[in-house]
Amino acid sequence: MDAPVNTNLLELYRTMRRIRTFEERVGELFVRGQSAGSMLHLSIGEESSAAGVCAAMKPQDTFTTHHRGHGIFLARGADPKRMMAEIGGKETGYCRGKGGSMHIADMALGHLGANAIVGGGIPAVIGAGLSSRHLKQDSVSIAFFGDGAMQQGILYESMNMASLWNLPVLFVCINNQYGMGTRIDQATRNTAFDQRAKAFGLNGAVVDGLDVEEVQAAARWLVDEARAGKPGFLSVEVYRFFGHARMDKSPYREEAEELEGRKKDPVLFARNKLIDTGIEEERILDELDKAIAAEMDATIDFAVESKAPPLGSMFKDVYAAGEPEPESVRARIDRVLARDDA
């Protein structure tokens, strides 16, 4: 493990601040009535998991995410404008307005897709691990998911196969303590999740998400091991600062708990660490934050000004380009009525 160099923490801070600010702008897009729907899951409070793990990845690596995946994709290098446009259901978005917040993907960055089925994206990394080995891609494939998915059976089928076949795979659980309104101890008896992974023969670690450098260090070890054929599991312990989705005001938890939970702020922690250890001056960080705010403001303008996808595009990409497209219902009806007229 390399000792983190000064620029490392600054870079991680920048990534986390960009995620935080982007997510705040997603909230704004919703309030302005410009988002496609309200099923927007913000990763505020969880930035260290995205920044720390993605910093340990190589360009050839691939990943899938859960529905709360904006931060992970940004940390991987996504263009926030195209992300915001996708969240607005616009033509200029990563998936041409078809996927939205919960289905963002980008093959160029190895993003095999976000998922609206809890646990739905997990086994794909087993397949990606197989490809990596057969095609000598030297890539690791990482499944990001929430603590809720720890209760889905498919995770354990996947862990078992990863271990059995020594695949270059990493499972990353972002444990934000809640699945919707259910606190983790109401969903399972044993919350020491690394034990489950170890039982299948995987490397396993649990890390406090307060300090992004600790997340990064744990992820580096696990990613390196996975690349060498020993799959692993990492649980990053964080707190979901706000409601499950935009409409949820979290009536099921006490305000005191929330205030306490929000003290575990990885962005603020990194900022203070940068200042306290003399790596960066507060004034410079203020300027960085301002520049990020401006960058993210522009994402809203871009999304709002972008066009909705043309209606005809709805028949595209059901099948591969050049293959027969589904015939529209109207076309079929027209044919019947034309015959009637004759």
Partner: protein, 325 residues
């Protein structure tokens, strides 16, 4: 007594009343207890009936449905809730291979009197994995009953009736109807289970549909009436059992039929209905039965593409007017 109630509250009241009358009823699902249901249908029921009967589960759908199967075989009357019908994909083994087949495989020894409550359909920009209309998967599986209420009164009565049935009932609500409010008379005798409702009577054309599309069909019928075209609108209410007698009676009387479904057109519920009308009412039909149904594509998150993917009142009225031309 007439009261004004939302679809959501009618569902909630049906569960509440049924649980009061029948202590063997338990509700099992994600967020059904403390949270009160993702769409608020079980709100505060935990305060009335307790956490022993409103059972919050981990996010483990196959086990939720399988638990209901086992409970139903051993004396309870479970209501399993799937937050979105799209999660049928995960639970289809428990539903189709277990719940649906147990009575038959075991020679009639035992049934599975459970209700699988879920919701489907478009209308919230919820994307490809949270907007589907998968009733055809259920209708295609012998052994399962299938109820799809459109009106507030049916939300109440069909759910109450589902909770008295000897076999598994899949009960599919429409996510765009929860806030719909109607006057209902809870003391009036409900329509019998398995009987279609004629929501509007006309002599020019029969529109056969169910769930949210009932309201689109009625809206279309109003528009058609302004052009002097009078449509009959049949709300099937349950797809299994299917009240084909009512459909046949009106199609034979009128001679023109259209079926409307939000589900995708190919091999869907509309396909089954159209085939059956064509076979059984052939001699009475003046022209082919037309299907107005969902496009054979996934649902996009973009509002424009989402609403373009499924029938609208306008499309129903357009097609109907052309059928009459």
């Amino acid at each position: 007594m007439m009261t004004s109630m939302t679809y959501r509250d009618a569902l909630r009241k049906a569960l509440d009343d049924a649980m009061t009358d029948d202590s063997s009823i338990v509700v099992i699902g994600e967020e059904v207890g403390r949270y009160g249901g993702a769409y608020g249908v079980t709100k505060d029921l935990i305060k009335i009936h307790g956490a022993d009967r409103l059972i919050d589960t981990p996010i483990s759908e196959p086990a939720i449905v399988g638990t209901a199967v086992g409970a139903a075989m051993t004396g309870l009357r479970p209501v399993a809730e799937l937050m979105y019908i799209d999660f049928l994909g995960m639970t289809m083994d428990q539903l189709a291979n277990q719940a649906a087949k147990i009575r038959y495989m075991f020679g009639g020894q035992i049934g599975v009197p459970m209700v699988l409550r879920t919701q489907g359909g478009t209308g919230r920009s919820a994307g490809a994995q949270h907007s589907q209309s998968l009733e055809a998967w259920v209708m295609h599986t012998p052994g399962l009953r299938l109820a799809m209420p459109a009106t507030v009164a049916d939300a109440y009565h069909l759910l109450r009736q589902s909770l008295t049935k000897p076999d598994p009932v899949v009960f599919i609500e429409h996510k765009a109807l929860y806030t719909r409010k109607e006057e209902i008379d809870l003391d009036a005798d409900p329509l019998p289970w398995g009987k279609a409702a004629v929501r509007r009577q006309g002599d020019d054309l029969v529109i056969v549909t169910y769930s949210r599309q009932v309201f689109y069909a009625l809206e279309a019928a109003d528009a058609l009436a302004r052009k002097g075209i009078e449509a009959t609108v049949i709300d099937l209410r349950t797809l299994n059992p299917l009240d084909f007698d009512t459909v046949r009676e009106h199609v034979e009387r009128v001679g023109k039929a259209m079926v409307v479904s939000e589900g995708v057109m190919t091999s869907g519920v509309a396909a089954e209905l159209a085939a059956r009308i064509s076979e059984e009412c052939f001699d009475f039909l003046e022209q082919p039965v037309l299907r107005v149904a969902g496009e054979d594509i996934p649902i996009s998150v973009s509002q424009e593409l989402e609403s373009g993917s499924v029938p609208s009142a306008r499309m129903i009225a357009d097609v109907a007017a052309r059928m009459m031309a």
